[in-house]
């Protein structure tokens, strides 16, 4: 075992636990368990808000799968990844203040709370939304856990099962005891680690490659396509790459784990700060991480498993002690995504299903027990699913996120900005979005040369608007409350 790599990782994990324990004090003291456990009592400041959004969103795909794809595809994949700069400002600007005001008026703790109140307490809205969150995010979490375990496996030489076990225990412990506050604070530490990790590996890689000009001419000598926007075999068309502006750019606002953060901040000033910090940090991390993948190619040619490019280049270009510290970055990226997903799925089960329909009268104590219980059971289920891992985790991840975007984008956006939006529109649009996503993904992926997500998003918009207009007479109060 490579102790100089392992020791910094252990220190990183211990500090994460410390934050979990510290946050659990708030949970013991609070008189509103749900608000604190799932939303941190809406107290996030600007810096923490920016970091938790980025860390939640920047996942195994940005730190493992993304650089791996950039290694294979060249600069064209970095171009594609840069669509993510938009998430830094677009999500908060568009959900923005309106969402914050609504969430407070509705006393919403989850995205589904918002949808339920906005769409006249419709059971179907809640049912479809909760179902898709649970199914899609469960599969996304499995992919992330596999990524986390693979990373520990490659760093420590432990078996996959033991690595998975360590990862599962690490994440479950602080999420269960600390809730949203622990998640947001650990996300902040993880975000800072990601930022500096990216910076250090990037510098190390450029030096190892003999400077950027040198790397570029090596790439061009190997295959000129690597330095064009079109990918290693010219397969990245402008239409396909542009369609990622929906999947990893503007559509991100519809992801429940991201949207819930847009109701968790303290005040307008926090939001303003988060917009500026978020744009800078997310842009830098995405640019840096994917460039590392491309720059790694001349230094380490012929890597067969793209997912291992990131850990390998780090150990290649940095001294071991420093590699250990910065390899905490992808670890941090994975953990900070998983913890948020875990909490979102728990909240869908506890708040949206159990409290709404099974036991609305539950006492605070009962809610605590159920929340801890559900989070633990979910953890065990994911562990079991992750034991037999699938191969390229980026695609699994993108399937889950695309499906959720198709389901939620219009119910959320139209719910905020279109007064005629009603529950029939929302239900029809969610069904159309998820249904068409599943069909297109399986039958004809990337139909018309654009990513699978595009058509379902357009279709669900058309369905939303027509269904809302057709059923206009059925809803008296147009805001549905």
């Amino acid at each position: 075992m490579n102790w100089s790599v392992v020791i910094p990782l252990i220190i990183f994990l211990i500090s994460i636990f410390a934050v979990g324990f510290w946050s659990s004090r708030y949970l013991r003291k609070t008189n509103n368990f749900l608000q604190e456990y799932f939303l941190g009592s809406r107290e996030l400041g600007g810096f923490i808000l920016a970091m938790t959004m980025i860390a939640t969103y920047g996942s195994a795909s940005s730190f493992i799968g993304g650089p791996g794809a950039a290694y294979t595809q060249g600069l064209g994949w970095v171009l594609l990844a840069m669509a993510q700069v938009a998430t830094g400002y677009f999500v908060l600007m568009v959900l923005g203040k309106k969402f914050a005001i609504y969430a407070r008026k509705y006393k919403a703790v989850t995205l589904i709370d918002f949808l339920r109140k906005r769409y006249g307490e419709s059971k179907w809205v809640v049912f479809i939304a909760a179902f898709s969150i649970i199914v899609f995010l469960f599969s996304a979490m499995v992919a992330q856990w596999v990524g986390g375990a693979r990373l520990i496996e490659s760093l420590t030489g432990l078996s996959y099962t033991s690595a998975l076990f360590i990862f599962a225990v690490a994440v479950l412990l602080y999420v269960i005891i600390g809730g949203f506050r622990a998640v947001a604070l650990t996300d902040t530490i993880q975000g800072v680690v990601m930022f500096f990790g990216t910076l250090i590996i990037l510098i190390g890689t450029i030096i190892a490659g003999g400077g950027i000009s040198n790397i570029m001419s090596d790439l061009a000598a190997e295959n000129p396509n690597l330095i064009t926007p079109f990918g290693h075999d010219g397969g990245l068309t402008p239409a396909y790459v542009s369609s990622f502006w929906i999947l990893v750019g503007v559509g991100v606002l519809a992801l429940p784990q991201v949207a819930v953060r847009a109701m968790s901040y303290r005040d307008a000033k926090s939001m303003h700060r988060a917009l500026i910090i978020g744009t800078i940090v997310v842009g830098f991390i995405m640019l840096g991480m994917h460039l590392i993948g491309v720059f790694a190619r001349p230094i380490m040619p012929g890597v067969d498993v793209p997912d291992s490019v990131m850990p390998m280049i780090t150990m290649e270009v940095l001294p071991p002690w420093l590699a250990g510290i910065v390899l905490a970055a992808p670890m941090a990226a994975i953990m900070s995504t998983v913890d948020s997903l875990l909490l979102i799925v728990s909240s869908a089960v506890v708040k949206d299903v159990y409290l709404n329909y099974m036991n609305p009268e539950a006492t605070d104590k009962k809610v605590r027990q159920i929340s801890f219980g559900v989070t633990s059971v979910l953890g065990i289920l994911i562990f079991a699913a992750a034991l037999s891992p699938p191969d390229l985790l980026i695609w699994m991840n993108l399937f889950a996120f695309g499906g959720l975007q198709a389901a939620f984008i219009w119910p959320v956006v139209m719910g905020l900005y279109w007064s005629k939006a009603n529950q029939y529109g929302a239900i029809a649009s969610m069904l159309a979005g998820i249904g068409s996503y599943a069909v297109i993904h399986n039958v004809q992926p990337n139909i018309f040369g654009v990513h699978t997500v595009v058509m379902p998003v357009l279709l669900s918009l058309i369905v939303f608007v027509s269904a809302s207009l057709l059923t206009r007479h059925k809803t008296g109060n147009k805001w549905g409350v």
């Binding site: 009592s41 171009l79 908060l92 600007m93 008026k105 303290r266 744009t279 830098f284 640019l287």
Partner: protein, 104 residues
């Protein structure tokens, strides 16, 4: 559940405008990104020019584009975004949700 949403709430006017600014920024961001990437990048590789070692299309689209957007976001937020309270002004709400933050 009778908390009415007042569509004429003056805060919504500000919120709507800020959301539109977000849409405007993302369109600008996209055009910049697309224009430089495919405008300069579609030439044959032999005719590429380089900035700081990177192909010019990549430098302008991804590196400069990111810096421009970061600056633009900062300027727009500082000069056009308005501070506002999120909670309702009614006195009955104070202390009800999100207990006051006490330092230690």
């Amino acid at each position: 559940m009778s908390r009415e949403i007042d569509e004429k709430d003056p805060r919504f006017k500000v919120a709507n405008r800020e959301a539109l600014i977000g849409v405007g920024l993302v369109i600008l961001n996209f055009l910049w990104w697309y224009g430089f990437a495919y405008g300069l990048g579609s030439r044959p590789v032999e005719e590429y020019t380089y900035v700081l070692g990177m192909p010019a299309w990549f430098f302008y689209s991804c590196v400069a584009g990111f810096i421009v957007m970061a600056v633009l976001v900062a300027v727009v937020v500082k000069s056009f975004f308005k501070d506002m309270p999120f909670d309702d002004p009614e006195p009955d709400k104070t202390g009800k949700d999100g207990a006051e933050e006490d330092a230690e």
